[in-house]
Chain length 232, copies 2
Amino acid sequence: MTKLPGKRKTTAEIYQLIRNKITSFEMFPGDRVTEHELADLFEVSRTPVREALKRLEVEGFVSVRPKHGCFIRDFDIVELAEYYDIRIALEQLAVEHACESMPDKLVKQAMEAWDPARHDDDMARGIDLSVKDEAFHIGLAEGAQKPMLADMLRSINNRIRIIRRLDINADNRSLRTYREHFEVLQHILNRDAGKAKLAIKRHILRSRDFAKTLTLTALAQKKAQIRAGNTR
Amino acid sequence: MTKLPGKRKTTAEIYQLIRNKITSFEMFPGDRVTEHELADLFEVSRTPVREALKRLEVEGFVSVRPKHGCFIRDFDIVELAEYYDIRIALEQLAVEHACESMPDKLVKQAMEAWDPARHDDDMARGIDLSVKDEAFHIGLAEGAQKPMLADMLRSINNRIRIIRRLDINADNRSLRTYREHFEVLQHILNRDAGKAKLAIKRHILRSRDFAKTLTLTALAQKKAQIRAGNTR
DNA sequence: CGATGCAATGTTGTATACAAGCAGCGCATG
DNA sequence: CATGCGCTGCTTGTATACAACATTGCATCG
């Protein structure tokens, strides 16, 4: 965020910086960047840039065409829908396990955090809902003692975070998110796996449908904006 | 496979070589290796070794402790069981989609490959069952036009390949594998998602239970062997 | 005029040199 | 004898130089 000119940046920082540039649409899908460019930009050598790009490639943010350049990967709607489907399958699994083994204490703790009554207060405090939302979904898997499942959810989130950010920040959805999360947690507390699975499915499906249209418009906007603005 | 001493190896090859050493128990969990060692061993510089290790780290084969060394990661039974559970969820999803959209032609093609009548012939020909098996499971997702799902299954397979290899090569299971795969395909051809999902679930569950005991004994054997053999 | 070869340029791939940091050990000192 | 401090060796982290290769534009030839 803040630029410290003197400090030499580490690979992990470069990774974050590039990812931010992508997820904030500063670098647009299809753009081609070279390792040298990025190295100059961040004032480091190509080595850490390369490592960061390698990781970003594994995670699907960019694709490196050998000897040619590095391209920001496009995300198409079909791909996103697929990820949402996968999320449903995995999170239903997480919820099922949570019903079996997530301690009451943790569930109640989460319920406090997602009590719809808290919504306005949180908003007033300027809580970053996208972060809180991610913590909820990952937290179910972690609460159920399924670290690998949590890992997979994290990696999926990496891919769709761009969209979820747009999604979750839409005002008209934020209260609904509280309600839906709260409902899921209630069912978990009651150890009713069937209802909990259904609730989480509905919740994700709603997100998906919303995200779909939202993405289209957001991308279109950005595209227009880019086209109008610069010729870098 | 065959060693060409003159040819300089590329990063991808180094990656494969190291992974093979791990999955074939040539490098044992807990072992510490240094980049320099590997570079010397493969007669390349540290750079490609580093890149290969980075990738292996992402995929969970090794863990690099900064400034200290690179350790072959242990796989514990609990973790493996979790992966099998995840596979059930994901492959049920794949099968469901396959019932909807996998073309008859592809299904029939797969059924030919997995016709139990072919089993003895395949064995005689020395077919690598672990490869064929992986192609089946991935193939369902691909046939259903779900490339991202296929990707995720691939990455899970990377993690449990060691075990699956032991599993699938056990003679007494190979014919059963043909039968179970064939059954799943039959249900898909009939577009009976319910039965297909149940069949794939049973199939993976059986694998899991078998793998569990198998891994324990295999690991124990190797451990004993190592303990007896060397003190490197 | 068009196609083809060829060289120049730019990009990633690899090797090597140097920096930084941590662990373990030995030494000195209380 | 115990303990704290610093030093050395080893390992990863980063910078840079060089190699290989793909693309592209131009020139030359049919």
